[in-house]
Amino acid sequence: MKIRIKFEKQGLLRFVGHLDLMRYFQKAIRRADIPIRYSEGFSPHQIMSFAAPLGMGIEGTGEYMDIETRDEEQQMLSSHSCIDRLNAQMAEGMRILKYLQIPQETENAMASVHSADYRILFPDPLSENDFSMLKADLKNLLEQSVLISGKKTKNGDKEINIRPLIFELNVRENGLFMNIAQGSEANLKPGMLTDVLRKQGTHSSVIFASPFRIVRTEIYDKMHKELDTYGRELL
């Protein structure tokens, strides 16, 4: 049975990288006794995949992973009880929000990712002045058709145009909201956007000099539907 799990990764867990998160979940699933399916072969591994890796230091409140479970045992367990079992095994900062059955033919989470919402949060609400200055910076930024950002790759530094990867960007009460490209086809890291803002904006460099949090709040597919749209609860 194909299962889609929605979860939060907050607090100290923002310092746990993607590969470590996978190992964390493999162990949590064993502890919670979720009837996960294993691959064939001499060293079987759990059938599990994540929608999109979350950058180091970034929190997530709408994260997704897909797993496959053994039908017979899964049918005896409701979504509710699986959530309870898993949450009993979570470290502080991790929480399971949804445990949904998705149709067998559903494209896996990783392949379907197209965009994600991010919020940049400042410790205190922005002053009126900061708010309007930031707004002006963003407006100016979005009016340009080309925004060049340096990207570190395995083969040295590469410059890419990030403007087409920004779908939405605006100022909110205590920070920024953005919907940006995510996934294997095109991927924008929020840090790249704030770097450009810092460099090009007149006021942003001041605002971004103090500490801020980055939170990924939702992940969408090409139809701009949340990834949990396709699932149903097991009763």
Binding site: L12, L13, V16, G17, K27, P44, G57, Q89, A91, G93
Partner: protein, 621 residues
Amino acid sequence: MINPALSDEILLGVDKPARYIGNEINMVKKDLSNIKIRFAMCFPDVYEIGMSHLGIQILYELFNQRPDVYCERVFSPWTDLDRIMRDKKIPLFSLETQEPIKNFDFLGITIQYEMCYTNILQILDLSGIALHSADREEKDPIVIGGGPCTYNPEPIAEFFDLFYIGEGEVSYDRLFDLYKDFREGGKSRRDFLTAASSLPGIYVPSLYESSCKKDGTLLSFRPKSPDIPSVVKRQVVSDMDSVSYIHKPLVPFIKVVQDRSALEIMRGCIRGCRFCQAGCVYRPLREHSVSYLKKYADEMLSATGNEEITLSSLSSSDYTGLKDLLDYLIGSAGKKKINISLPSLRIDAFSLDIMSRIQDVKKSSLTFAPEAGTQRLRDVINKGITEEDIMTGSLGAFRGGWNKVKLYFMLGLPTETEEDRTGIPELCEKITDVYYDIPKEERNGKLKITASSSFFIPKPFTPFQWVPMLTEKEYLDRAHFVKDTFRTMKNAKSMRYEYHDADVSILEGVFARGTREISRVIEKAYRKGALFDAWSDCFQPEIWNSAFSECETDPVLLVTRERDQEELLPWDFIDVGVTKEFLKKEWERAKEEKTTPNCRKSCQGCGAIKYGGGVCFENKD
């Protein structure tokens, strides 16, 4: 949520920030208002190494079973964070509460290998605790050392307030109770240390004085006053099933070296290899019962979700319940997709059968530790493995589908000759012959033999504790000779030979048998920037060379000097059970190339019987 001691900016700027945040699954949390004793348990190396160590996990759970004690953890910050903490004057903190170590009652440091000595100073320094016990303030934590290196604690004695000699399960309760009494009675640090010195297993270095001759030989060693014990007795658990093991092992966020549940099946070893300190100082062999281990295996796996379990001991094949235990583990492992790993197994038909059931034969390799190239030298070191054992084991392995063999050797063993060195490649060649004698169509892929040599280091409390080491040049000459001889073998293409760094071995040799004088060299090297000496990328031999010369100490002289049998040795004040008479007798037998039967075959009266348990009492009423 507890706020991290480090800012986001710092955490995101260092490698693997999860090393420093704690909060792992099964981390113990306590309400500080009920706590009388705060204990910081330290492994002075990076998190991934420290978290792989069984001993501190046992003690972590044991100490935390006491409602009045909160035991937390601290490890060496890696070099990137070390620099930042010094620059920004951030005090070293515990993982659990993220509070400064300086606020704790105890700082307990496990000392597993000599090359961590500068990291001990790093821990003290970053914590803001004076490096020398003598300079510490009333409120500073009591700094305790434990672990294998405490069998000669002298080179680091001045950095510790006390050492706990032996197995932690036995005397810590009494130490904690004593500490509480002293704190509640408003007594001084010095009063506490003096009282602690009369507890069994506790050594308080500041209460003893020693003097040395110019050549580094110990002239005298005695307590400063008559009411201080002149001998410190190693603490030993006589019935292993009477102590608790780990119910809820910590589950690190990052991948640590031992990313698996470790089940300690027994302590001690019956084999009596003459170079092996563990084989002497952990006597007698004491087993856990199979039923005890089954219970803990199940608990550990369900509390961690680990996908692998490993059996921990010095020689797993000597565990009498091995077959029963493995049948049980293999049975339950199949259901839960658990892998089983079995290090330190003797390669014979039984173990090959087991291994073929639990491992991917194609990927795994077989390991032999003959330690020496000829039977003569193996007899000298009492390594009870014969050429026939190796050949039969290899044939069985090749027939079973393995094609990778690893062999471990030592260079510079007492009485070693050129013939023994030539024997190393020759032994490997014989294994390749066994392989190529198998008809081609029955062989499995390409044969790969890897032989590696470490350099012999004489250790305290072994029959070789008196013997000289060689110079760095001599070690390297011998290694080069062996490497050259490998090239002349007809199947050289199937063999690979590697050897350890000789400069590190010399340093380990200095520390292993050193006196208190050596602490000056360690401190000097630390001040000059030596840190993480166990990491070959970090080890800087030139720092050590200048530290030795500034302290006017010749490391070569210290390691190459043969100790006289009547000489007072720095560790003579410790009673580990095994007697000096036994060690002397074993040294004589070694020179006569005579082997000594293992403890199960016949008792040699080594002295360990006084602990009242284990193999010394097997098959006796």
